[in-house]
């Protein structure tokens, strides 16, 4: 347990020591900030704006998560520190979990300022707070966290499979895009009802909008938790297989 926290802390701190993380923070806050401003301006209902904000966060993930995860294993492999790490008395699972926890906590920290947007809205227009449903806001953020953890696990797997960070990032981006858009264009995707249904079930965008509307769907909970566990399991296997 102690080595898990030590590894997690290193992973988390390493992100703050790289310029890429700051670029990603800036990009994320700029896009979500501008997006939310525009959403509030165009929408009459605040709930719609919050749904919209979740979708903006979701689109940012497409860029942010591959970039944050690409270095986890690939960089260690390239610089050789993988050898010192894997010959210390820590097991593979601890290493994988700590890297996962490091990136996930960084991403959640990244999302935290977006909650300020709601505070600012409440300050400017106090009457809107009454309409705001705490459940839908929390549901939205919980969904963001779940989706992020599944894709962070995917990104770490890609990073564990190669020592080239660019390859890791691009393959994560490609798989995420397929899963992202799989359901978004479901009516255009196929004429077969089955494909449409599966696409809809996998679509992160739809899950997010549902959650931000205040609908708690256990199916998406199961989907993201199980994919997270699966990808993390695959990563430990990938790390072991590379020995």
């Amino acid at each position: 347990m102690r080595s898990f926290f030590a590894l997690w802390r290193r992973e988390f701190a390493a992100l703050f020591l790289s310029p890429i993380a700051y670029v990603m923070l800036m990009f994320f806050l700029l896009v979500t900030g501008c997006g939310f401003y525009w959403l509030v301006k165009e929408n009459q209902e605040l709930t719609h704006s919050i749904q919209g904000l979740m979708v903006v966060i979701w689109s940012c993930m497409l860029i942010v998560l591959p970039v944050l995860t690409m270095r986890t294993f690939a960089e260690e492999r390239k610089s050789g520190t993988f050898e010192t790490l894997m010959t210390a008395p820590v097991n593979d699972t601890t290493v994988v979990l700590s890297k996962f926890a490091g990136v996930l906590s960084f991403f959640l920290l990244m999302c935290a300022p977006t909650a300020l947007y709601l505070v600012i809205i409440g300050w400017i227009a106090p009457e809107t707070i009454g309409i705001l449903d705490a459940g839908s806001v929390l549901g939205g953020y919980l969904s963001v966290a779940l989706i992020a953890s599944a894709f962070i696990a995917l990104g770490i797997l890609a990073s564990a499979l190669t020592s080239n960070q660019i390859i890791a990032a691009i393959s994560t981006f490609a798989i995420m895009s397929i899963l992202f858009f799989g359901g978004l264009f479901e009516p255009h995707l196929s004429k077969t009802p089955l494909v449409r249904e599966v696409g809809g079930y996998l679509s992160s965008a739809l899950h997010l909008m549902e959650a931000a509307r205040g609908v708690f769907d256990t199916r998406s909970l199961v989907l993201y938790l199980s994919t997270t566990v699966f990808f993390l399991f695959a990563t430990t296997k990938a790390v072991a297989a590379r020995r």
Partner: protein, 338 residues
């Protein structure tokens, strides 16, 4: 064991639990990399407190073997035990006994020395209360005392090597495995690291690979020479020398008629071969190879009796380098003498 060595270092030497347990036991170890055999069915044992030099040309399988010992690579076949713990079935226990410094000494360059060592101490399960004292102790040992605040990426190669070494010592391992600890250092740094290793040898079992042979000759009680994935020799440098190269070569600078001297030297009892090397100032250097241990006095007597002049007479000892070349190049000496 010198006085002033803290008790914990003597721990493993005196611990009855470990008495008679070998530090390293390797049996029929083989590693294939997609069809290429890197290490081919090697077996060896290392006792507690031994200092072993691991030699071999590039690509002979040294690093692969060391990586398997530390559990970084899994062997294709064979078994490894470190202090009685099987590396494959009980990897964490085995790794707790090992302090390992990989070849290029990889470090997290963005961290500070203290941060890095503290992080390593935590993942190596150094008890919380001891972290600070251990950090101080290894920094003292490795000459890093006033380097704690420096960022590793800005340190020179020599200092990075010390950080790597400090890291490998943090958890007071019984066994130190150092892969090319002096690679890429300048002569002064090599001397410093060598002195450091000499001090470590008093407290740990040591397995080190290096290209710089005088180093091994100085520090190691036993050498393992590996070539093309196989162990071709395992002995002390001195007895290897004796076994493989026979007796020393004798050099003599003599003034006189070279052909006559050569003929006279050949008549000395025990002389095998005489080679002549004319020097610029009219003198000649003779190299005498003999089966009899030391024939310097006989050469001297011979020269005096003929009235020639002698200005130098010495025995050239064969270095480990010669042994290394002889073994790994398939030299004829090996076939002749073995």
């Amino acid at each position: 064991m010198p006085s002033g060595v803290p008790n914990q270092y003597i721990r493993y030497l005196n611990n009855p639990e470990f008495q008679g347990v070998l530090m390293i036991k390797v049996q029929n170890l083989t590693k294939n990399f997609s069809g290429n055999v890197a290490v081919d069915d090697i077996s060896f044992e290392v006792g507690r407190g031994e200092i072993i030099g691991f030699l071999g040309p590039n690509g002979a399988g040294k690093t692969t073997t060391m990586r398997m010992l530390t559990g970084f690579l899994h062997p294709t076949r064979g078994s490894i035990e470190i202090a009685g713990c099987n590396v494959m079935t009980n990897p964490l226990a085995a790794r707790r006994h090992i302090g390992y410094m990989p070849e290029s000494c990889p470090l997290y360059t963005e961290m500070r020395v203290d941060e890095y060592l503290k992080f390593r101490a935590q993942i190596k399960e150094v008890p919380r209360r001891e972290v600070k004292t251990r950090l101080g102790a290894v920094k003292d040992q490795c000459g890093l005392s006033d380097m704690g605040r420096r960022i590793i990426g800005q340190l020179s190669k020599g200092y990075r090597q010390r950080v790597g070494l400090a890291d490998s010592l943090l958890h007071e391992p019984d066994l130190l495995i150092l892969d090319e600890p002096t690679a890429g250092l300048d002569p002064n740094q090599i001397r410093e690291v060598r002195d450091l290793i000499g001090r470590l040898a008093e407290r740990h079992t040591l397995l080190l690979s290096t290209h710089i042979l005088p180093e091994v000759e100085m520090a190691c009680k036993r050498v393992l020479i590996i070539d093309r994935g196989k162990i071709v020799a395992s002995d002390s440098p001195a007895s290897l020398q004796k076994r493989l190269l026979g007796d020393a070569l004798i050099c003599a600078d003599i003034l006189g008629d070279a052909a006559a001297i050569k003929a006279a030297l050949k008549t000395i009892d025990g002389v095998d071969v005489v080679m002549t090397d004319p020097l610029e100032d009219g003198w000649s250097r003779f190299r005498v190879d003999s089966a009899v241990p030391d024939i310097r006095t006989r050469i001297f007597d011979c020269v005096v009796s003929k009235g020639w002049k002698l200005r130098e007479l010495h025995m050239e000892s064969r270095s480990l380098e010669d042994i290394f070349v002889a073994i790994t190049r398939g030299d004829t000496l090996l076939e002749v003498k073995s």
